[in-house]
């Protein structure tokens, strides 16, 4: 944007302005957008992001980071200095109850927790075994993972990406969080998906995939003819008023906003209605699975594909609780006790739907331009909490990426032999987002926004692009 054109002038010039204005909503938003690129900084490898957030913290030791030493030391005290844990109920070395095997041409090691992902997608995954976080508690950890800061008030990654790239769909928000069943926002609340200090149109819209009203107030309360008549009446009144208000651009934009809202009333039900999806697709995702949580998560996965097809930049999915071992709605993977049963149930919920999503995206040629991120806010301890749970471990854990220009079928980094701390190639949350932004064609150091006297970034003052993750 040319900074020398004033807001008024720009609005005045935009003869076709309405669609742009209604969605960009940059009316009288404070701060300057000098940090917003007019074009991508680099050639983008991906256009969209699907963020499979495993809230509560998946155990890396039981999924993507096999540690045979744990079996040998089973039941013994941890032979390492321990950091403070969240519950301070540290037990002894706790080997994984799951079995690991090599899969696909790449020979990627995946445990028996994720049989479908292992069978169908091993060669698509880029597993990072050296992920770290700065926080070992859920809410702060969730904020840190989403925004780069451990408290509310900062823009979520999805908001930053929309700010950086703009929207590609006039009728849908560019940042969508999907929920279904009794899924809720992770600990920390909906502020995790907020725009922070960025203009409000970059915040996430939460779509409840299986609710009668998937977005608040999206359903007209009367027949369409009645609403059209009301809108016509309102439009007439507004036309008079806009004239009296000297064609103030804010007023005119607010007038036009009603047309966007009207269109969204149709676009959202079309989206969540899953019209046009075949029985084979439903079957692939497990949409009609008898296990209700799995069917609900499958619906999110299918919707995620439909959203990226429609140009939505950033889609985040929400796991549902299986109510095992401290895993409640905001933190379903949080098995402080009963880890084996809890992780098995959680994995069963997401395994087939996620495998289906990757398969489907690939089949439609969308995986190349869609970056899929699978991660929780931290991993879990190699020693037990109580008798059969694991506590939080932010000092080394696994996440994976797929599609969107990452090296498929590879492993990056390593934890120590106990799986407790990173031993090689530490990756921080800042590094992860720096890399994600890079794949989207954005330089994380130049994606900035002035707020409170400071130019903020998603990566704060840190972050390195991890070139080795990029194909």
């Amino acid at each position: 944007m040319n900074p020398w054109i004033t807001r008024r002038e720009m609005l005045r010039r935009c003869s076709t302005g309405f669609g742009y204005l209604a969605l960009s909503g940059l009316l009288a938003t404070p701060g300057r957008s000098a940090g917003r690129p007019s074009a991508p900084h680099f050639r983008p490898r991906a256009k969209n992001v699907i963020f499979l957030y495993m809230s509560g913290g998946v155990s890396h030791l039981d999924s993507f980071d096999p540690k045979p030493l744990l079996a040998r030391l089973a039941g013994q005290p941890m032979p390492a200095k321990l950091e403070r844990t969240q519950f301070n109920k540290n037990g002894t070395v706790f080997p994984s109850p799951f079995e690991f095997a090599r899969h696909g041409g790449s020979g990627l090691e995946i445990s028996s927790m994720f049989p479908q992902i292992a069978r169908h997608c091993a060669d698509d995954l880029c597993v990072v075994r050296s992920m770290t976080s700065k926080v070992s508690e859920h809410a702060q950890g969730n904020y840190f993972f989403h925004t780069g800061f451990p408290t509310m008030g900062f823009p979520s990654a999805g908001a930053w990406i929309n700010y950086g790239l703009g929207t590609a769909n006039r009728d849908l928000p560019g940042f969508v969080v999907l929920q279904s069943g009794d899924a809720t926002a992770p600990h920390g609340g909906p502020g995790l998906f907020g725009n922070g200090f960025l203009p409000a149109q970059h915040q996430a819209s939460i779509i409840s995939a299986d609710r009668r009203e998937p977005v608040p107030n999206i359903t007209p309360r009367g027949p369409d003819a009645l609403q059209r008549a009301s809108l016509d009446f309102i439009r007439a009144a507004d036309t008079d008023f806009a004239l009296r208000a000297g064609h103030d651009p804010q007023v005119e934009a607010a007038v036009k906003n009603y047309e966007t809202a009207y269109r969204m009333q149709a676009a959202v039900p079309e989206l969540v209605g899953l019209a046009g999806e075949t029985a084979a697709t439903r079957e692939l995702y497990g949409l009609d699975d008898p296990h209700p949580q799995k069917a609900a998560y499958a619906r999110q996965c299918l919707l995620a594909r439909r959203l990226v097809e429609r140009g939505v930049r950033f889609v985040e999915l929400s796991c549902l609780t299986e109510k095992i071992g401290s895993g409640n709605a905001p933190n379903p993977w949080d098995q402080h006790g009963d880890l084996e049963r809890g992780h098995r149930a959680m994995a069963h919920q997401v395994d087939q739907p996620i495998a289906a999503l990757l398969t489907d995206l690939k089949a439609r040629g969308l995986l190349d331009e869609t970056l899929v991120i699978w991660a929780g806010e931290f991993g879990r301890t190699p020693f037990s909490q109580g008798s059969n749970g694991r506590d939080h471990n932010p000092y080394g854990f696994s996440i994976w990426l797929a599609g969107g220009g990452v090296k498929a079928g590879t492993v990056y980094g390593a934890t120590d032999d106990l799986g407790y701390r990173v031993a090689d190639k530490t990756v921080s949350v800042y590094d992860l987002w720096a890399t994600v932004l890079h794949l989207l064609g954005l330089d994380h150091q130049n994606l900035t926004y002035l707020s409170g006297g400071r130019n903020y970034r998603l990566t704060d003052v840190h972050g390195e692009v991890i070139r080795d993750l990029i194909a």
Binding site: P190, G191, N217, A236, R244, G453
Partner: protein, 1055 residues
Amino acid sequence: MRATFLRVPPRVAILLAACALVTPGLAAPAALAPADAEFFESRIRPVLAQDCYECHRTGGKMKAGLALDHRAALLKGGDTGPAIIPGDPKQSLLLQAIRHEHDDLAMPKAGAKLDAAVIADFERWVARGAPDPRDAPPTEAQVAADTDWPAVMARRKAWWSFQPIRQVAPPPGPATHPVDRFLDAKITTAGLAAAPRADAAALHRRLSFALTGLPPDVADLTTELSPAPFTARVDALLASPRFGERWARHWMDWVRYADSHGSEGDPLIPNAWRYRDYLIRALNADVPYDQLILEHLAGDRLPQPRLNAALGLNESALGVAQLRMVLHGFAPTDALEELVRFTDDQINTVSKAFLALTLSCARCHDHKFDPLSQRDFTAWHGIFSSTAPAQLAVDAPDPAEPALRASLRQTKSQLRAALAEAWLADADALPARLTTPDAALNKSIAAAKSAESALHPFYLLAQGATPAAALEPWRNQLDGIARHHGRTFPYRWDLSRVDDTSSWRRDGPRMGTASAAGDFAVAAEGDRVVVGVYPAGLYSHLDSTKDRGLLLSPRVHLAEKYDLWLRLAGEGGAFARYVVQNYPRDGTVYPVQKIAGIGPRWIKQPLGYWQGDQIHIEFSTASDQPVLANPAATRSWIGVSEVLLVRAGELGPFEAWPFAAPLLAACGEPTTTDDLAAGFAAALRLSVRVWREERATDGDAELLDQFLRAGLLRNQPAQLPAVAPVLAAWRAQETALRIPTRAPGVIETFAADAPLFARGDHRQPGELVPRRFLEAIDATPYQVTDSGRLALARDLVRPDNPLTARVIVNRVWHHLFGRGLVATPDNFGRMGETPSHPELLDWLATWFVEHRWSIKALVRLLVTSDAWQHASSPPPGALERDPDNRLLSHASVRRLEAEAIRDALLAVSGALQINEMFGPPVLGATPRRSVYLRVKRNDLDPFLTAFDAPVPAAPTGRRDVTNVPAQSLALLNDPFVRQLAEQWAARLAADPTLAAPTDRIRVLYTGAFARPPTAEELARALAFLRDAEHSRASAAPWADLAHALFNAKEFIFLP
């Protein structure tokens, strides 16, 4: 646009022409002319060193391959060519960069554009051939000298907002209002004429919303709005209680008001709403702004607090609640990081809200742009972290209370005498009772399996022990008691001793001094007389269980792994805990004892996990924890006699039963059950006697307490005919005692300077920085023994502080005109905007202080200006010459704030409970003003959020005004909005005077827009109704019409 921008300004062109005659060549390597050298050293070198070297230094970052630290490097340049072409400022890349001629080459990067004067200096310097004495890259020492903090700060202090407020007079002009004279001068200079006055409807709405946040009362619309009645209308609105509700909400934005702390669990901040009510009362009472600032920092420390006789409140103490609106994480394993972060939250709020400075940006290093050092941040960190989060008692002193307490205590001593008589009789009857126990006593004996029960010997007897053997467990423990008292512990506080209690922070009527052994508490209700008889210590309830008790130990650095032992008693949900680094919540590794009801006993808490951290130990009554308080609890109590820290793994204190000593002494060597029973009776008699004479020992007190629990002493009013009337009298007096009013706050505890954290890393503490104000204004350390909050508060309002008055005047201007004279009301630093009318800002700041810092007077002054009353239609030429209307030649159209939109919907429809003021927060479905809605951080009201109500994470002086579909969808489809439309329609339908549709339409339009419909609008509305009824078969055409008017832009915009 670009072409226009690149056109060389005439002034520079002249400069260039002049310089061309000087024949500039390469910068001379030889000695510079003295004038050139002086110019370079004073104007050029400091800027290069302070603003450029960080990224462009030889051997440093050398971004874009460019160094600017010596002459040859400038001439050689970087990746894009030479930085300067001596003699040619226009073609010199460096100058293009600092003039921001190219979007992607705007320097200094991520910083504010350099001052115009500095850029002019560089132009002059390059035009003169860029004479530069720097033959080689500077040494570290040279760079350090050029960039050392005093040098940097001296330069930065020249920024406008740090300059003294100037005494200025309004410029001459025909306008009578001084504000208009300032504004008109610039409007005229720009060749513009001001817009005419707005029409009556626009003015009525503008005034009513600006002052009260509500649409005008239809009854007031008949008022002519020529100047005199307008002023009368202003005064009426300023006097309305709605004024405080409106402006309190603005203020709540400035201090990021919230009812909860956020994060996992998102706990409520108990009594936060009392602060909101305080703001409303203060603004309605027009309490001077400087007074409110004192109260916001140190209202609990004022020598003469502002008391509210009607409500019995110490208003001043409520101001400090803003320090508690911080975010708190959940169960952080790094407690110190949490402390630093939430203290930073306090510093951020205070510095932005009252000084419009971003002191938080100096947490890890000196400020990048402003004259604020990391030492400044640390000085404030010391001030705020010298307190602890708390619930404060905010009652005004009650003149009747001392007499009431005196008579309560007098009645209590009568009770003691009456009880003693009765209990001596019980002692006489005791041997018979013990030797031939009735069923109830037998049950008690059978339950006395533990030696901590006074009936334990009789339990052992029943088990077949000899009388002598029955006393053995007690004899054995006498040694243990002696050992316990002889032992040394890493930390030990005997809270019956003045020496030990004096280091604790104590709050509550009975927490001042330890009670003597044998003091007792009377039951205020229920079927008992005495709650308990206690050993010496600190007990909150010796007058009443309504009283609050709060006890904080000194801070302890946990150098080793310790166990904490507490000997305490309590009831009613009182709290005992240790607090790590001031973290006030509980959860996982932050255990808290909530005491339902226990007698004096030892409780252990392991502290090993927190080795290396600082803790303090805290006891409180149920309503007096900063976060965990239960505001609904009216009666509880806590009592403590001893606190110990023992090395982990070592023996704890000996679990002693002091009552055993007098019993053993009296029993001697019993051989029969009768002997034992007689000994018990003798011991009891002795203890009652000394208790009656107020000479009891801890052993006597605990003996009486044990015998009460065992049912060996009468304690029911019905059993005690001589006691009952005295008890009744005591209870009657006790009802008159107030339940304390609590509000969030901080209390003075552990005054200490904070260490400078290397690069902001709290694990790397450095030297201590004295607590003090900002060095840019006054670097003198505070000579105080407390935290320094009051001293800081006074510095905020001292006359030579150039910021405070300007900041508040600008905030008020922003809320009235839609944009501040400084457009960034929270930032008067380099990254903020400069004032559009600096003289006016200074004149207003001076005027405001002279008018006793009166917000109402300031509002009155501003809204009575012609400028504020202009129409919004731009006068000819204004859009071209002043597109952003910074000159205020006309009014700027504004959208209503979220709260005003919701309140207007409620008001217009007749649903608003307008006279319901104050009290605990309500949810959105309650038809009260939006200022009373709960602000729960993880569950913000969706309607208000859609219309840009701020997320309460940091001060928000200027809200976003966005235009997102959620707004249209809410007004179109939100059932709450629809319901209000129906309510409005129903109200009209019920009004017999409004039978004619045209009359009803008139009422609708007047209610919504403060004006009657035009003929065309009338016809349109009638057609809409007709269609609704006939073609669309609407069930409620009038509600449809009302709903449509809610959706008209005129409803939410002020022209």
